[in-house]
Amino acid sequence: MIRLSRHHTERIVFAVIGLAAVATAVPIIIIVGSIFFSGAEAVSWQFLLEMPRDGMRSGGIWPAIIGTIYLVVGTGLISIPLGVASAIYLSEYAADSYWTRMIRLAIVNLAGIPSVVYGLFGLGLFVLFLDLGSSIVAACLTLSIMTIPVIISTAEEALRAVPQSFRVVSVGMGATRWQTIRRVVLPQALPGILTGVILGLNRAAGETAPILFTGAAFFLPKLPNSIFDQTMALPYHLFVISTQVPEMPITIQYGTATVLLAFVLIMNILAASVRSWQRRKREW
């Protein structure tokens, strides 16, 4: 057997792990690049702001864009207060007991459930049992259940990262626990919480399976009028025009994918900039 010198081993190891890093980045670059390349020509103001025509084979994707915005905002309205409140409870108030350990275990497991299961659960609970029908509100509730675990775990992590000494100082000067949380802990944890919120909502924006049975429409000739209407949504629209409509122009498919991808990418960039702002701000 050939014995390699330490320096050769070093080089080989370095090359192998470097290749591994490149190998993971290449597919992402190819996917994003090819979609943006092929979709860019389809994207125009008309494409973004017009209703679909000719059985979605021409026209724009406005109802799908507005529908996704409705779903993300609605999901945020439900999941942010619930998720952040739960995180505050778990991080600041709850003692380390059997029950809080069970709650944490449940949250971790909830985050790992396949999204189609959330969809079926939403169909059973919100659409059928609570009789909300296939609607924006049912879809938002379903997406919220999927998003809340993400928000809770990142927000709890952000709250725990605030040094204990800040809390002790505040309480030591006569502040109550809630005053301490509101005036000291939350402001310090806010960037971390925001990152979690954006990442959670990002997932909600891109998922098809949870809204498939709970609120997404194949095609609607008009925008939804109330939260009890169905809505079109970008990810489901992309699925529909890619698989369900014959003789679909490929540029529209690519254009829709480009818009969805850009939507998700913008939110990711937002999360990343919040994170770096947080790092610059953090001085302890």
């Binding site: 040094p163 000494s165 002790v168 000067m173 006569g174």
Partner: protein, 253 residues
């Protein structure tokens, strides 16, 4: 005359779970005196200090018995508002721990949260507190600069100013100089002497010279017991116990 006594501590016992940290401690703290608490690590002096403003309440699985009377009121009585007690009995920590905010916001934190002052009154209170903490002259040009840009010694004086801003009667200090260099330590010691005019001070220290220099009374803790408590000069010149003498002269510790 109970008016002449700030803290009257009787038969104080404190437990962390099943471990007894304080054992039958009796002590009298007089107003506008500096009381130093000395003793080897783990002897219970910090625990004792934190009993005086009920900071130990925030730790789970602790138990306390005996009584601590502050200005005639048992602070562990059920009708006591512990947040008001903590305003009255401020605590300065071992490491300077300002919030990552401006100098002004740090000192204004307590008055804002407790609703003590707003607007011009608040500004006046902040300035007064910074003056009283002997920091004003060094930072008066820029109250908006971040607290963490100050030196450690300045940060510790800022933390003292932050406590003064909620107008306490008593200031507890838990090894306030252990993270500081000799010059900063000297400044804090001078400050403590000045504060004595208006405040009652209880200070935990590992530094024998510091206890000898700044305090009027010294208590020596050993394994959770206050085994000797007397005038500082007595403790450092002719203590009644051999163990105290061994400790203050550095023969063990």
């Amino acid at each position: 005359m109970s008016d002449e006594i700030t803290f009257q501590i009787e038969q104080l016992n404190f437990y962390y779970g099943n471990t007894q940290a304080l054992c039958d401690v009796n002590m009298t703290v007089l107003p506008r005196e500096i009381t130093a608490l000395i003793g080897p690590s783990g002897c219970g002096k910090s625990t004792f200090l934190r009993c005086l403003n009920r900071m130990n309440d925030t730790i789970t699985d602790t138990r306390i018995s005996g009584s601590i009377v502050l200005n005639g009121q048992n602070i562990y009585a059920p009708n006591i508002d512990e947040t008001e007690l903590r305003r009255q009995v401020g605590l300065v920590f071992q490491r300077p721990n300002p919030f990552p905010q401006s100098i002004f916001d740090n000192v204004a934190f307590g008055p804002r949260v407790l609703g003590i002052a707003t607007g011009n009154d608040l500004h006046e209170l902040v300035v007064q507190s910074l003056r009283a903490a002997a920091l004003w002259d060094e930072i008066k040009e820029d109250l908006k600069q971040p607290a963490l840009s100050l030196s450690l010694g300045q940060q510790q004086r800022l933390c003292i100013a932050r406590v003064l801003a909620v107008t306490p009667d008593v200031i507890l200090m838990d090894e306030p100089c252990s993270a500081l260099d000799p010059i900063a330590t000297n400044q804090i010691e001078e400050l403590i002497q000045e504060l004595k005019e208006h405040y009652t001070i209880v200070i935990v220290t590992h530094n024998m010279q510091q206890a000898a220099r700044v305090s009027d009374k010294t208590g020596f803790f050993w394994l959770g017991e206050l085994i000797e408590f007397d005038e500082t000069t007595t403790i450092f010149t002719r203590p009644s116990l051999q163990r105290t003498e061994d400790y203050v002269t550095g023969r063990f510790g």
